[in-house]
Symmetry: C2
Subunit: 324 residues, 2 copies
């Protein structure tokens, strides 16, 4: 099977066809119309087998995740996803694997009206790079920079699930495994925050690491109330079941495990109620977990007011998203 067969057979039948795609797959490059009054939002993320996902990960999950981690970056900017290109390096062209991979990627693309407009298939060790593009109204993008002292710090969804699934491996529940394999980009939440949140970032490397990036942009600090961190029922169940496997680190995983792809954002107190209502309307839970301070660094406190020193600071070593 040559590369043209791969494209034709697995990726051309994609359902999503956008009116703003003048030329998609099949020319030297894609030709796209950007609507007036909008800015273009572009990000790229690579997944390497054995580094970013375990080698036995189902192909559909790899396809989903390769697009999802990019859509998560678009979500953190408040953008509406539009187009993606796929650079797929494969050791061989296994039809069953390709079918599942394409299905995982294209199903997510269809949900968010993303058209696959180009790509490249090459032979080599399994590596997937997606470049995603979205649109945002001029001047309305969420940025990492912009938080102010006194802003509340929020996160969407729950934290630590993906890290717990990685730790439990085959003993992870279906919910935890799905949180690791099929992360849900918080697109609607990001858009609901435009004009209300002062700063935003997606949590790919762990809350502490990513919040630190947000703070560093403005030389600020934060207090994080670690008992307020949102944990899923599946997470708490493992925590509360003796002998259910590796006990989750109740504080550490939500603070430091990566791969959750939730949003972390800051909101002035006067906008808190509006933001909570907007997110509820967008169908996305959000939890206030702390406050921005003028003392650089992150201080973790328990509900009883005592301090907590995190063991790890997140997945910061060479090997992750440069926008990280």
């Amino acid at each position: 099977m040559d590369e043209f067969d791969i494209i034709r057979r697995y990726f051309m039948p994609a359902v999503t066809r956008r009116a703003d795609v003048v030329a998609g797959i099949g020319d030297d490059a894609a030709l796209l119309s950007v609507p007036a009054g909008h800015e273009l939002v572009v990000c790229t993320d690579t997944l390497v087998s054995g580094v970013h996902f375990p080698r036995h990960t189902p192909a559909a999950a790899i396809g989903h995740k390769a697009l999802a981690v990019n859509l998560s970056d678009l979500a953190a900017m408040g953008a509406q996803p539009a187009w993606a290109t796929l650079a797929l390096t494969l050791p061989d062209a296994d039809p069953r694997w390709l079918e599942d991979f394409a299905h995982g990627l294209l199903a997510l693309a269809q949900r968010f009206d993303v058209e696959l407009v180009g790509g490249d298939t090459t032979r080599g060790p399994l590596t997937v790079t997606v470049t995603a593009q979205g649109l945002v109204r001029h001047g309305m993008a969420l940025r990492r920079r912009g938080a102010r002292v006194g802003d509340r710090v929020y996160v969407t969804g729950t934290l630590g699930d993906a890290g717990l699934a990685l730790r439990l491996q085959e003993r992870a529940s279906a919910h935890l495994q799905a949180r690791l394999d099929y992360p849900e980009p918080r697109i609607e939440a990001g858009q609901a925050l435009c004009g209300f949140a002062t700063a935003a970032i997606d949590i790919s490397d762990g809350l502490l690491a990513d919040l630190a990036h947000l703070l560093a942009s403005d030389r600020l600090g934060a207090i994080v109330e670690i008992d307020a961190l949102p944990r899923s029922a599946a997470f708490l169940e493992v925590h509360e079941t003796p002998g259910a496997g590796a006990q989750p680190a109740y504080y550490e995983l939500p603070l430091s495990a990566g791969d959750d792809y939730e949003l972390c954002f800051t909101v002035p107190p006067a906008h808190s109620t509006a933001v909570e209502q907007r997110l509820e309307h967008a169908g996305c839970a959000a939890t206030a977990i702390g406050e921005i301070t003028d003392t650089p660094g992150i201080r973790c406190v328990r509900a009883n007011g005592s301090g907590y020193t995190p063991v790890a600071r997140g997945f910061l070593h060479f090997g992750e998203d440069q926008h990280g």
Copy 2:
């Protein structure tokens, strides 16, 4: 060295800063302004070590080529390059290698006013994916589709040099080696063709393979005058020197070897003179090599009128650009 150090140290000092980049490296995604009246042109290409370049290729050449092959796709659309993202997968973070790689990539970026607006560094087998973006006036892009019966077929530059360098390996002359390692994207030529050429494609897989893609778009055929194919002085020197190494296949390499990254395009006879003048003004040689016919397929003829049957059809197997 973590990934943030890599970005800061090697890629942040890039000279190119464009006014249309609202946010570049350092946020969740890049934020870019597309000027009114323009369309966005997007392409992506991956280079895998040992597949797309020999393992001993200098890092600077890999950096140059990773961007150049993408700019070549933009050239084939007649686009003005603007932005690029880099997904770099590395077995380790060797400072000397990174410095050379970044220099090769950024020097070319600077020449064409391309700003590196984002990327991702990951650990794994050496793989480089660049996604390049350019701009073209609304409706003015060159396409693969559009050739008409009777149009003349042209190519820029010379053909077969890169293929000959690959064949000669360490015995290749400096010129031939540079043609393989440092391909020159024909950006000015592509722009000069907008409004004059009826169709265009870049030659990455070999003339026959890429011309076949152009023809297939319109179910056309072509006659190629194989004695007219442009060959460099360095190519002819090897051909004419007995014992200088592997003799170049005088017809086969210009017809079927990849990696030349010249443009192949079609021009109505009435526009030939204008196109030749425009390309001369753009500083790019071009040679008429044949004519479009209504009989599907490519027929190769010698100067004496006799037919020639090519041995190979180009680098078509699984492992190359899906835009091909």
